[in-house]
Subunit: 442 residues, 2 copies
């Protein structure tokens, strides 16, 4: 083997991803050295409990509880603990000690990204985080580098495997949310506390990262509009299928222009996570199971899609190790790290000022003039109707009593739509607003 | 605008891609400067004829016929002339003058890559070529960086838009190759001389680049096995559809291990371009029109797919400009360029030593014992039968005379298969070998 310069690699955390990273680093060390042009010496793994069982068999002497001692003196620090603290403190220590940092910590980057990137800039180090969004799918580098000369118009991503698994099974089996969730938990596709996934928190963190890269703007997590999938039921799934749609939890990052946008440059962005109807023929509709996919529309490049495994220990380890090799190459090449590009600094609009299409499902009294009343309320609210489908619903005695109206709208302002739905609910003719869903990808 | 360091950008060539690059550089200059951290001054465009009509309106004073003067003194040289010379000489001059180079020239890199990468290493410069494979689709960085810590097992790419357009229309319309080609030429999807596309030369160049990156091995173009699509006819398309397949021109880059591989490491690679049958449910089967897609299987990451426009002036310009921003960032950051990773140096096996599955279609005499004879020849040739379908063919009088045998094989060695097909053709019972196609993606 070539006599390479040796780099000291410190690993923080040895969970599902960390233990795989350590295992692969040791297994493929010679090969990775050839690729990096530097030997990658795993000098230690900081964990809370060195004796805890691991997914991968690793020498006991690598483990330590003293992360500080491990970090100081390392050339590359891999942070895979997750959570805010002590990850934040450890990463700042690593950067200030002259190390490059590799992390998969989307929660930390979505909340403390600017602090961490600033610290890296101060010392000329780099922070790599390919594994922080969409697992093994290379999406950070394409947005950060490959599309750096283009103008991204829109990203639509399926970036949470758990919710895609649940929605996909609901779609295929006609099952209800609670049943599929319970089964997903039993099978390990969903956690015991599924809140972060099913309420869209995980997807919102990834949306903030993707939007920051795509629009060269530091997008704070609290600017991301977030809705989860717990309200989606079998009837909504069935109605979607009937209308040629499928329901997916989407992270939508969009560049907005036009008269409603009063920013200095005439441009703004919207970043939002919600369940939406997408046409069955859209490429994202065929993303099944726990897979992820990110659909990107750019001014020059046109439509691009990136598809693959969005989670999993060894899959995510692939992305982490790609970053480790990149960090090693930079170390050898010299020069300072390339900082984040956030100088576009576009305002993030609140959800009320976003326009999309909607599908509104109402239960109404089955009497003459109802449709005219509903249409009048929509028109007064500046919501234009594209399609209406009316079905008579029968009561327990099999007699017609109420009707279901499924209304597809043209593009409308979210605030107008929301106020209009309130007025529909309060009108005498609407018994129940069954669902209001955005339509994306048309 | 921030007072950035100014970088001198020289453009060589102003065809479909070059004129778009120049136009976008000028149009989005301020924005690109913010992203790069450096002003990108387009200082000149070297062309053969400054007065030729261009796709984009550009100031006459930018044009020059003196490429040498333009190159010397540039910080970044964008080569978009195509072809081997003078592109090779100009790129070497640029590198030796201290410039970083951005190129989309797959023909040059596939034939003179090592010379160019060595020259870059000598002076510590970088060569960027995201636009050289699969147009606007970011595939070079994912393979070079994101997957640098993984082991790629296999790439299957639809990397030529013209042939995918032709095969897709043949599949949808039941038309013959020559008719669709003529129409594609009339519509601008195929060139007047379509040889580079339909004979697979273009795809072979891209396959050499992708395999070099994926397997960390300099793959010479002449090690790529190449077959085109001119033999594909409406009947083959129809038979493929009937059997649940679609025919695509694939670039296959594969890591091989096992008893047949006698390399020092026990590993080798195969790089090949040919029309193949892929199952209709494979993600590559739904790549329509002139689009490209690259399907990657890696040890840790699992299955990934990258999809988008594979050609087009403005689409390819997106990839070029991403490289220009990357080159500018590196210039500002300092340090030397990261060279190509080719130290794995795996042997490339000839096509005869590759194993795949096959579908063999034979016209045979419709007499008792024919199937036994055919099966015996296959068995003697170490080709194992998976499926057989026999159809009686009727002659002009509507009488049965001959039969068609469609044989699906298990995995077989190409050399065994090829010799077996020769023996079938020479046997008394086979009237004609209608087609032999590989099956991929099963």
């Amino acid at each position: 083997m070539t006599d390479y310069r040796r780099l000291r690699v410190a690993l923080l955390g040895a969970g599902a991803v960390g233990s795989q990273v350590a295992g692969l680093l040791r297994k493929h060390g010679d090969e990775l050295a050839d690729r990096a042009g530097a030997a990658l010496d795993l000098v230690g793994i900081a964990v809370r409990n060195p004796d805890a069982p691991r997914d991968v068999d690793l020498p006991r002497e690598l483990f330590t509880t003293d992360s500080e001692q491990l970090i100081v003196g390392a050339d590359i620090v891999i942070e895979l603990m997750g959570g805010i603290e002590p990850a934040r403190t450890d990463i700042l220590l690593a950067l200030n000690s002259g190390a490059d940092v590799v992390t998969a910590n989307k929660a930390l980057l979505a909340t403390h990204g600017p602090e961490i990137f600033d610290a890296a800039d101060q010392v000329g180090a780099s922070v790599y985080y390919e594994a922080a969004a969409a697992g093994a799918i290379p999406i950070i580098r394409p947005l950060r580098d490959s599309l750096a000369g283009d103008r991204v118009q829109r990203i639509m991503g399926i970036v949470n495997g758990t919710t895609n698994y649940i929605l996909d099974r609901m779609d295929r089996e006609g099952s209800d949310f609670a049943d599929v969730l319970a089964d997903a938990q039993a099978l390990g596709y969903a956690e015991a506390d599924p809140t972060a996934d099913v309420e869209g928190y995980d997807a919102a963190q990834k949306a903030a990262l993707l939007a920051s890269l795509a629009f060269h703007t530091a997008v704070p997590l609290d600017a991301v509009h977030r809705e989860g999938i717990t309200q989606i039921d079998a009837q909504m799934m069935d109605a979607a299928r009937h209308a040629g749609y499928v329901i997916k939890l989407l992270a939508v990052c969009e560049r907005l222009t036009g008269p409603g946008v009063d920013s200095p440059t005439g441009e703004a962005i919207s970043v939002r996570v919600y369940p939406a109807l997408i046409p069955r023929e859209h490429p994202l509709a065929s993303v099944h199971g726990a897979n992820n996919a990110v659909f990107v529309q750019a001014e020059a490049a046109g439509n691009l899609m990136f598809y693959g495994a969005g989670a999993g220990g060894v899959q995510t380890a692939s992305a982490v190790l790609g970053d480790v090799v990149s960090a090693a190459r930079r170390h050898i090449a010299g020069g300072v790290g390339v900082g984040e590009s956030t100088r576009a600094n576009l305002p993030v609009l609140p959800i009320g000022r976003v326009t999309t299409r909607y599908q509104i499902t109402l239960e109404v009294t089955d009497t003459p003039g109802v449709l005219a009343t509903v249409a009048g309320i929509l028109s007064d609210g500046r919501v234009s109707i594209a399609t209406v489908e009316q079905t008579v619903l029968r009561n327990a005695n099999g007699e017609p009593g109420t009707a279901r109206l499924v209304i597809g709208t043209h593009t409308a302002l979210e605030q107008d739509l929301s106020e209009t739905v309130d007025r529909l609910a309060a009108s005498g003719v609407v018994g129940r607003v069954e669902s209001v869903l955005r339509v994306e990808g048309d």
